[in-house]
Subunit: 73 residues, 12 copies
């Protein structure tokens, strides 16, 4: 959080994004989806990295993250 | 998560279910209550098991769990 | 949770309150803000205490807490 | 803890109960035994679930819990 | 471990058992399966309790445990 | 522990103090209560900070701490 | 785990994969190597990310993961 | 960290501040002392709260925190 | 715990033993002291290893352990 | 650490690197910056992955790592 | 891991060694036993130190460790 | 920390000491090395015990510890 935001209250939600490409892409996928309904997202924290396996390679990356956003008003 | 669900984004919420019967019943109680307003619940993870005591026996089991559900669309 | 509330289901949300005064004030700030939209809040648990620094003193206390509230009905 | 008890001080002790039947039974076994010497027990928190194995099945469930009780006076 | 076994070396493996009935049943399921190939299993420790959800109830309990067994000879 | 105390053995007990005023006051409340029966208390470690909520503010701070004291003789 | 697999028992093994390219590549390296001897691998969980340094850059990424696979039959 | 600082590299050091007054004062004591030799301190995270006991009250609060500061240039 | 003891209930206490010689000696010091007042001690678990420093060497090893003992009768 | 280095003593420092590109790039950014003043860096361990969000995407990756280096002589 | 080994994949197994003498001896006991069937062991990490008590002294040290070894070829 | 030192501020650094002899020796090795440049060291806390393996025995013990020292003046 930057200094100018510090008088506010924030809420954190926990999301799991998935991607067949990379860890970063799974995180961006979760944030993009959340942005459809959540405003003022400020930061995220990775909680867990896992995935499923198809034969002998990673099929989907599944990254759980907490996203903090400022409560309006 | 099964493979066919992996292109989606999931949200996890944290609930505490209670029951006078068993740990399993407290978990099912929380999931049944959540199903009244949350669709597409897929999995849960137990976070904490505790309870209150009446005299010399467990009175209520209180089980905190995280429940993951698919965000629509 | 008191005994008479034990047949209910509770949800926990995670908030970060901020204050330039104290840790306690940051917690009360988060609870006061949440009370505008959340009913039946019962307890909280402190998850993290941090803050930002302005020169050589704490500028804002940032306290992350989980707040449990009874689901209606 | 319910509200009316909040002016008190509580002590927590750590117990391991055992049972050949179930996790819940091992917890109740520990609480029943403790109630012989400890008054005013209010809540418990499960710390660990383990057990020993006899051949190919669980022989005894061993559940470690913390039990909180109000200090008298 | 009992005293008379203490001169041995033990190995721990991590298993996930599943059951539609209960947590205890999922644990026994994992131990029974492991007993087909592993001898001298002595104790287990529960690592994680989770499960999948079908509509508004638990469909399968998935319990991850570590199982300790004595290395032969 | 200071150097001159280092040849002794210490025991740690776990307490939960409560206060309507502050975190520090809840800790001092627990220590004052324990001092009625425990001698030679030397240090404490905070384990958990939580509390209950009355409407839109903290009603009681509940702080769990471990207290170390020297075993006599 | 998908629903249809839930009647099975799974084993988890812990591997460390290495790569000079990326975290993802180190994970795939471990899974590809394990697939030479392990069948029915289903999912993985990242446990640790570390690496060694050559001068002023990462030389090798070393990622420790747990891999879950279904026990046959 | 605010957005405009994000291209920098930060170092975190671990300090223990002490105070006979309060947790907040112990933290400010550590930051004030560190500011004599460290520039560009930005944030802190509380790691541990403990203290020593004199008779039946807290004598000194001892708070361990990590302090992050921007590396120059 | 050995099998024949599994029908009992156990209590765990937390002790800190000190020694100028070794980690093992600090543990034995705590157990010997506890044996003056506690019967039926069965096992211990090391919780923390620390110590104080005199100039450039360890002066005293301070080892915190939990000790489990069977509750009588 | 390789075998030939094992007679030495190592120090670990904690850094946060940032990057708008990837997790790996943030880590290399921290190591490159540290190499300006620290010699003999040998390994790193990732402690935390987080970042800030600009609208609906990750703006900067912020990766905290510990870096171990051999103390000279 | 030394640099020259970094292109390989490693597996970690979890063992518990026992000894009536010391913590170090329990670790060496586990490694010696594992070396009868496992090649290319490279490093270990201590996970837990515990033991059983005979009267008023430690009877056996029980140390759980993870051992990493290079997968062949 | 002893009582008379409590008005000071302390810094903690993280070191890894190595030894072919014992865990205690690895810790003393780290402290002796640090004492060449750090004054007023007061206490240490063990963070991790690991080591490398040569064939079928421990070759070097590698113990990571935090060392606390008083900041001058």
């Amino acid at each position: 959080m930057s200094s100018e935001e510090s008088d506010h209250v924030y809420k954190k939600i926990e999301l799991t994004g998935t991607s067949s490409k990379s860890i970063e892409d799974a995180i961006n996928s979760a944030i993009a989806k959340a942005s459809e309904t959540v405003r003022n997202m400020r930061w995220f924290e990775v909680v867990e990295v896992r995935g499923n396996i198809d034969g002998q390679a990673v099929q989907h990356w599944q990254v759980t993250l907490k996203v903090g956003f400022r409560l309006d008003g």
